[in-house]
Structure formats: C-alpha cells, structure tokens
C-alpha cells in the first residue's frame, strides 16, 4: 500500500457531486453559505439551475431537502458537520430518517484536523448520532478517491445518507480501480496477529502502524470500515476470530462511533480484547492539524502501541478470550 499524494476528502465530495449532476438531472444541491469550503461551489458553477442557496439555516435546509426528496428529487445539503449533523438533529431524525426521505447530507470540516478554527467547528460526535438513526447510511471515507466514489454511490442509492469529510489534505492511497461498495469494508492489508480497524484519515495511520509492526515480525490486518452504517458485521467478526484482538482508530470520540460499533458486534459474535484509538471524551482546540493529531493521540504511534497492548491482553487471557470459531454470526 503506497502513498500516491495528498488531497482533502472534501475535494472528492465536490468532484463526486459534479459527476452525479452530469449523470442525473434530478440531483439538486442546497448551499449553506459556505459552499466554497465544502466544495458545493463546483456544482453551483456547473449547474446553476439546480443549486439553491438557503443561507445560514441548517434546520430549514435539511427540511427543505426532505420536501424536495418527497417530490422525487435527490437533494444534497452540505455544511460543516457540526451544523448539518447536530444542530439539525431533530430534522434529520423526523423529516429525513423517519420519512425515509432520499436526502443526502455532506458534513465537512469533520474531526480535529480542521485545525485553527477550534473546538466549536471540530465535530467529533456525529458518527455516534447518525449511526443510531433507523434507515440512515453513514459513510466516513479515507481519502480523496474514496470520498469521490462514496459521493456518487450515496447519490445513486435510495434512502437517507450522510458522508463525513475533512478540510485538510490527507494521504491519498486508493485509486479509481480500488473496489468500493457501500456497507462492505475494504481489506487493506492482510494479517493474522492483530486487526487494525479504522476509517477516515486514521486508515492511513493504521497502514503506517502495520508497517512498523511488521518490522517487529507482527502481522497486522488493516480494515477500512468506510461505511459505519450499515455495518459490515461479517468482515469484522472474521477479523476478531482470526486475529483474536482488535485496535479501532477514528478521528471521533472513542465513545459510540466506529469503536462502539466494533465493540457491539464483537461482544455478540467474537468477544476479543479491543483497544480504542480516538479522542478520549474531550473537545478539540486550535492548532495546526498535525499538532492536534499528535496532541489528541491520533497517529500511527498510538495505534502501534495499542496493538501491542491488545495482543498482550489476548495472550494473557485477561479479557476472558475463548475460542469462538464455531459460534454462529448474528447481525448487529
């Protein structure tokens, strides 16, 4: 797995939207005043008749999107995740999810890698909320190329969907040929000693951690769970059974996000030690993205160290790990 460059995931969202707009005449985009930073400006330039500026009113934009969806359109609304996933939470719950309205939300500037804007704009909680909404699809792409493919895929599926993307450039390591299927986790690296399960920018950090572990003779499996909901129960269960311990890594609170989903599934199907890499019950703060990723413990080093802890817990049996190879798989 090689580094191909560096590009923000939000560019993938913007390019994916233009691609969708060309393919489907009923794709509509709603702007929330920050169209340049969440890249809906690209769609606006290309399809001005299908772009509507709603202003700084995320609750209204979300429900207008529901009205458009109930009229046969495919509306996308994008803003910063702090405002288009949580300020409008009730609208997402009732008007979008309960209605099963075909609304698509793009939540930008996610995680602490927003940098200098500080804690108010660094959303770290929305994955937890969105994955509890019935009918919702929740996507956290790992790089530009995956964000582009995910945007097209969410536009072409029927039902409410949310994509999370970031502001700052992140490593690009997938290609147009890398498979992408909603709800199907990607096996990035084979391995048998420990499973590193990540999404977003932490997938690349997991790859770096796996390469370092390999130098110690440890074989780490890296899994990219780009779709947090619906969750790929089978891939994660298999990893738990075959590796016997897990590290989850995400640019999100450690509670109730990807790590929570992995814990729910493995607790039922294959209880193994899990170490959680993520933001540990705190708000973000100002700083450069790289500084913040170090401060909040979101680099390959924490994943590496956590892998060693997880393996030790497994080998000492302190978690009560037992052979679970013959237990049937239950969906979460």
């Amino acid at each position: 797995m090689e580094l191909l460059g560096s590009k923000p995931t939000r560019f993938g969202f913007g390019d994916g939207l233009v691609d969708l707009g060309e393919r489907h005449s009923n794709v509509i985009v709603l702007g929330g005043d920050i169209t340049g930073s969440v890249m809906t400006s690209l769609f606006k330039e290309k399809f001005p008749d299908r772009f509507f500026s709603i202003g700084i009113a995320e609750q209204n934009a979300t429900t207008i999107a529901a009205g458009l969806a109930l009229s046969g359109k495919i509306p996308f609304f994008a803003s910063y995740g702090a405002f288009c996933a949580l300020r409008n939470a009730d609208q997402l719950r009732i008007s979008v999810a309960y209605n099963e309205a075909n609304v698509k939300i793009g939540g930008g500037h996610a995680g602490i890698s927003v940098g200098p804007d500080g804690a108010t704009h660094q959303v770290l909680e929305e994955v937890a909320f969105l994955r509890t909404l019935p009918h919702m699809t929740m996507i956290v792409p790992a790089d530009y190329e995956e964000a582009r493919k995910a945007t097209v895929a969410m536009g072409e599926m029927v039902g409410p969907a949310y994509i999370r993307f970031g502001r700052s450039p992140v490593p690009l390591f997938t290609t147009p040929d890398t498979p992408f299927q909603l709800g199907k986790a990607n096996l990035v690296m084979e391995g048998t000693d420990v499973a590193l399960i990540a999404n977003g920018a932490l997938v690349w950090e997991s790859i770096l951690a796996a390469k370092e572990l390999a130098k110690k003779g440890i074989s780490a499996r890296v899994i990219n769970v780009h779709t947090v909901k619906p969750f790929d129960v089978e891939t994660v269960t298999t990893a738990a059974r075959e590796c016997g311990c897990i590290v989850t890594a995400e640019e999100h609170q450690v509670h109730a996000g990807l790590g929570g989903a992995v814990a729910e599934v493995t607790a039922k199907n294959a209880p193994v030690p899990i170490e959680f890499v993520g933001v540990k019950d705190s708000f973000g703060g100002s700083g450069e993205p790289e500084e913040l990723m170090v401060k909040f413990g979101l680099t390959w080093k924490e994943i590496y160290a956590s892998a060693l802890v997880a393996m030790e817990r497994r080998d000492k049996g302190s978690s009560g790990f037992r052979a679970v190879k013959d237990v049937p798989v239950y969906s979460a």
Partner: protein, 298 residues
Amino acid sequence: MTDDMKRSLEFNETTFTNERRAPEGFAPIANEIRRDIVRMLVRAGSGHSGGPLGSADIFTMLYFGGNMRYNPADMQAPRDRFVLSAGHMAPVMYAALANAGCYPKKEQETLRKYNTRLQGHPGRDMHLPGIETSSGSLGQGISIAVGMAMSDKLVDKNDHRVFSLTGDGELQEGSVWEAAMSASHFKLDNFCWLIDNNDCQIDGRVPDVMDVYPIDKKCESFGFDTIVVNGHDYADLQRGFDRFLENQRSGSGKPTAIICQTFMGHGVSFMNDKFEWHGKPPSKDQATAALEELAQHP
C-alpha cells in the same frame, strides 16, 4: 427509481380539476368532521381535541372548497399537496381525508391503536393516502412544504399548489421563520401558509407563554401577502384562498399567509376557547354531550 421520482416525471400531466365537493354546503361537512373527531378521540382515550375541532372549518374549505386539487381515489397521482406542520392536529386531517373518500371512514376507529395507519402524529411510514410527510416535531412541516413548493415551481415548473398549516404556538419555533424567509426569497406564489390562530397552547394563552404577536405584521415583513380571516366563516376563509389563487394566477411572486382566527374546541360549547382542551380527549360522558350538541347544528 422511487415512486416519488416516477410521480415527478408524470407531474406535468394534470389529471385534476378545481372541483368543489360540497353540494349541500360546507356546514354539514364541517359538522361531520367535528363529530368524527369526537368519536375518534373518545375511542382512542388520548389525543388532542381543541385544535382539530377549532380548525375543522379550515380543513373543510381546504379539502372540499375546490382550493386543493386532488383525486381521492389516487392520492399518489399528480396533485396539490397539504402538509400538516402542527402534527398533533392529525385527527382533523384524518377526518377530512376520510370524509373526502381517501380511505374508509370506518378506519377512523383505529386512531392511535396498535399498527394503525392513523398514528398519534402523522407517520409517512404507515402509507395512509393523503399523508405527505411525518410531522409532530413542530416547525418542520412548513419547511418541508417550502421544499415541495420549490420542487414544483422552480424545478418541475408546474402550476401545482402547496399548502401548510401551522398553529400559532408553533410560531415560537425559530425554524418556522427560516422557512418563511425562504418562501418569499424564492418567490413561491404557489405556497399558501395557513395559520390556525386560536391563541391557545398547552400551557395557556399564547401571549402568556411567549408572545408571537403581531402575527400579521411578522408575516408581512417576511414577504408574505397576508390576510386575516374569520376561521369559522366559509365565505371569509374562501376570501383568503381566493387571494392565494390570485397571487399564483397573476405570478405575483409572493407567497400567501392566511391567518385564520379560530376558537379552540369550536362547535362544542364546553371546550370553546379553553386552552385546557389542547391535549386531552373527551370522557365518554363529555363525548356524548358533544355529539348531542353537534347533532343539533348540522
């Protein structure tokens, strides 16, 4: 392709007419809607009496006055649409839809019961004909209606109308004004905002809980052509609808707000103008008395 998308493609083939569905006049229809509301609520044992009874005349003019064009035998076909933003007033919409022939009247008995299509607050997932959206969390329906009106006027470019009804207490929800701002910004003269102004909400009189007045000046300043009508006078209500139809016909670029002044619980004297009747059903004895009173004024 979803059903919504298919309908969108068919949207320009207009299959409806302005049909007034009240050969005997409006009063008997409104009376029957009120009696249905009482019968539904006493059977359910919970639910909202005051708002539905008070707005029965508005719903009569909406569904039977020829102002909203629809085919009761096929509520999926191209049509004008109504969004009940004040979801707790569901019983009056259910009664109007049943009396219009959109679903069997007998089914009204299932209000709020297990597995019913007549959920306590409207649920789109139950597929009751005529329910355009789920609602119940106040302030959302009007935004959905604005989105529908945008779809009709700005995207599909047809002449369909979209109506939405909010309560007056609901005006305390800030997002209502976000929706109002966008309706005039997008010049949605195909959008008609009905405000049930009964001055009551659960905790008391509206100005005591949080003052929303002057409603007419607020609507005007948000760009609405605003008209205040007596919500129990059919001719006056129609004057409001006519103003809306004229705005749309002339392409005025202005959405219309019809402020319907009503009394909560109207038609049942012991409920009339009493905010205590916002959120409760009549007892059996109260229902009997209410039905007797309504039977005297068909």
